[in-house]
């Protein structure tokens, strides 16, 4: 995949998406601010949230063993997966053993990360996404663009067209004369998916939290599609990142306060399901949990980078990020867009590809993401940390354009005569620009800088020239 700046160019040119994102991020951002203000000890909760997660990470092996024991004791079967392929293979084998060719899915970042749907499709198993936004993305043969509202780049008429054209091919078709009213669109999704919920034998989910001392898994959602998947089928398979552990049931309360307010800007999300293994006569009688590494242990090994594993996937950082708001989620080339994606993706995948090397630079370092992060991940600090890593990996090779420019600049600044000469050259050049206030594309090597920024046109007069003109040379 190309670097972030080239991917972002498509997003910047898409005015419809920019308008949708601007509306969405600003709406959620202000809702979040309102409900956060209601909580008198919000900062204390953030500190505690970060401390609980740090505690888990510092003793992750012990907590994972404890979680496994609690899950097993409550009737669940635990599997371990080193990477995406292994996780997909485990899920595929479990589904094939049930002799079904379809399953229903709760929206889950972990299963998107491992591209489970694609892996299942290869062996002829259809995985139906049941979250409305994920359904829109799936039917539209599209990719998610936001962690919380993955189809936010689509507007209602596009959604209506997708439903009309695609629903019939995979199940209950959209009703005749479907309008683009959200109520009607939601009704069409309800009818389309209800058929699938009622007949499903197998469901796949992720988990927001996994409680080590009790073996309880937790899923927060809004629509009830999660409850349908987690309750109606006979078999439930949950793919859970190893960083999702919380130590005790009591520790969960802090996240049940932090997550909904940070995520959807609600005091509480409409539905939360919590289940502990199997319950006789209620819900799936066969419960599997796949504990997923897929790069998480290498993030853990970096003492600075480790804090990214605190992330509870609330997406608050996306909604305040000036870069995300304009570039859109697809530019990040990963299921994790926005500021958290800019640090999590290159850590999980490593920085060998040009895209992953460019992600730590996909930021203005304004710090808004840290301010809203419910678990106080120092995203700006981590971006700089990762930039250092990327630069270090390139040391010794051909000097970069930036390196050359910096060395030239340091030579120029070192002597005031050189500096004044450079200033004169720059003010002279401004006379050629007429009334323009910004420069367009600059020639190489400055092109890599100007590609994503408007450089202001140089002033017609420098401060020193102004001083000489107004005070004369004697006042020097």
């Amino acid at each position: 995949m190309p670097k972030f700046p080239s991917m972002a160019r498509d997003g910047l040119a898409n005015t419809q998406q920019r308008r949708n994102l601007q509306h969405a991020t600003h709406t959620i951002r202000s809702k979040r601010a309102t409900v956060v203000d209601e909580v008198p000890d919000w900062e204390e909760l953030r500190v505690r949230g970060a401390a609980v997660k740090d505690q888990v990470l510092a003793h992750l092996d012990d907590y994972l063993v404890q979680l496994e024991a609690s899950l097993t004791a409550s009737g669940a079967t635990v599997h371990w997966a080193r990477d995406a392929d292994e996780a997909n293979r485990i899920v595929r084998d479990l589904v094939q053993a049930k002799e079904v060719d379809e399953l229903v899915k709760v929206k889950s970042m972990a299963t998107q990360e491992i591209e489970l749907n694609e892996a299942l499709e290869e062996v002829g198993i259809s995985a139906w996404e049941t979250d409305l936004a994920e359904l829109i993305v799936q039917l539209g043969h599209d990719r998610p663009s936001h962690i919380l509202v993955p189809a936010i780049h689509r507007n209602r008429s596009e959604i209506r067209d997708i439903f009309r054209e695609e629903m019939g091919a995979v199940g209950t078709p959209a009703p005749d004369g479907l309008t683009d009213e959200p109520t009607d669109l939601a009704e069409a999704a309800r009818r389309h998916l209800r058929e699938k919920f009622l007949r499903a034998k197998v469901a796949v989910s992720g988990a927001n939290f996994a409680v080590a001392d009790t073996g309880t898994l937790v899923v927060l959602e809004s629509e009830g599609n999660g409850r349908m998947c987690l309750t109606l089928p006979e078999t439930l398979i949950s793919v859970v990142g190893i960083e999702k552990v919380v130590p005790t049931w009591e520790d969960l309360d802090v996240f049940m306060q932090l997550l909904p307010r940070s995520s959807t800007g609600e005091r509480m999300n409409p539905y939360t399901s919590m289940w502990t293994g199997t319950t006789e006569g209620d819900g799936p009688q066969e419960v599997h949990v796949v504990l997923l590494d897929n790069g998480r242990t290498s993030v853990l090994a970096d003492e600075v980078g480790r804090q990214a594993l605190r992330c509870i996937r609330c997406s608050a950082c996306l909604n305040v990020c000036p870069v995300y708001e304009r570039a859109g989620g697809h530019a990040y080339g990963s299921v994790y867009p926005g500021p958290i994606g800019a640090i999590l993706t290159p850590q999980l995948r490593g920085t060998s590809s040009p895209l992953d090397q460019s992600l730590p630079y996909a930021s203005s370092l304004c710090g808004a993401c840290f301010d809203v992060c419910p678990v106080r991940i120092q995203i700006p600090e981590l971006l700089v940390h990762l930039r250092t890593q990327v630069v270090d990996e390139h040391r010794g090779g051909r000097p970069s354009a930036e390196g050359v420019a910096m060395r030239t600049a340091s030579w120029m600044f070192a002597d005031h005569r050189r500096y004044e000469k450079a200033q004169r050259a720059s003010t002279m050049s401004s006379k050629l620009l007429g009334e323009r206030t910004t420069l367009g594309r600059l020639p190489w090597p400055a092109s890599s800088w100007s590609g994503a920024r408007d450089a202001p046109a140089p002033p017609r007069e420098t401060f020193r020239q102004w001083w000489v003109r107004t005070h004369g040379s004697e006042s020097r």
């Binding site: 909580v39 000890d41 505690q55 959200p182 919920f197 399901s273 319950t279 090994a301």
Partner: protein, 212 residues
């Protein structure tokens, strides 16, 4: 060959290094200073904020209120958990089914469900079901389109930490929990909130005071 389990645990252990500190004490539990005296009133406000229907009544008038709630939602049939007090439905003229291994398809043809609750949370407008005998298994409060949920005023706690504390016993018994805050809702289409995608489109919460 090393198993995935051994390998992942070994990777974690090596990532954490050798000079590890024993688990430190976590900061004290954050205590929210919600106004406890207003708990039930606040619960009414926060629950109504989610476009749920909320009302308060006393125990003697409960059957009338339930009948009115079901009539208001045009429900002709209702399913009840086996452990629910049968007298609650004495005012309802329609079909009353007691849950007995109904399939998901059966439940889909029933208009409404009535359950009790385990805990209510004032700060957030949430009812929590621990699926005890008077609340029934999870499917019955999910598939029908109308959910009438009866909660005693003394089950309402001020905030989330009090709720998790109250639910510890249910968790120890490995009972599933369902936290419900308003009816099913989505904001996935241009961020317009629409009630009722897959869960019940109507949530009617009745708070019962014991005296009277």
């Amino acid at each position: 060959m090393t198993s995935a389990r051994e390998e992942i645990l070994a990777r974690v252990t090596s990532a954490l290094g050798t000079d590890r500190q024993p688990p430190a004490d976590l900061p004290q539990r954050a205590r929210v200073t919600w106004d406890a005296g207003r708990t039930v009133d606040q619960f009414v406000e926060t629950t109504a904020d989610y476009r749920a229907i909320v009302e308060r009544t006393v125990v003697n008038s409960l059957p009338q209120h339930i009948a009115a709630a079901l009539a208001g939602a045009s429900a002709a049939s209702v399913i009840r958990p086996a452990g629910l007090d049968p007298s609650w439905l004495t005012g309802f003229p329609g079909t009353v089914l007691t849950d007995d291994h109904h399939t998901a398809y059966d439940l889909d043809s029933i208009d409404a469900v009535i359950t009790a609750a385990a805990v209510g949370i004032a700060a957030t407008g949430t009812v929590v079901l621990d699926h005890g005998p008077d609340q029934g298994r999870r499917a019955i409060s999910l598939v029908p389109d109308v959910h009438v949920c009866v909660i005693r005023a003394d089950q309402v706690v001020p905030d989330v930490p009090e709720a998790t504390a109250a639910l510890r016993e249910a968790i120890n018994e490995r009972r599933p929990l369902t936290w419900i805050s308003g009816p099913s809702a989505t904001s996935d289409i241009e961020l317009d909130r629409v009630e009722g995608v897959h869960g019940p489109r109507t949530l009617h919460v009745i708070i019962v005071d014991q005296d009277g």
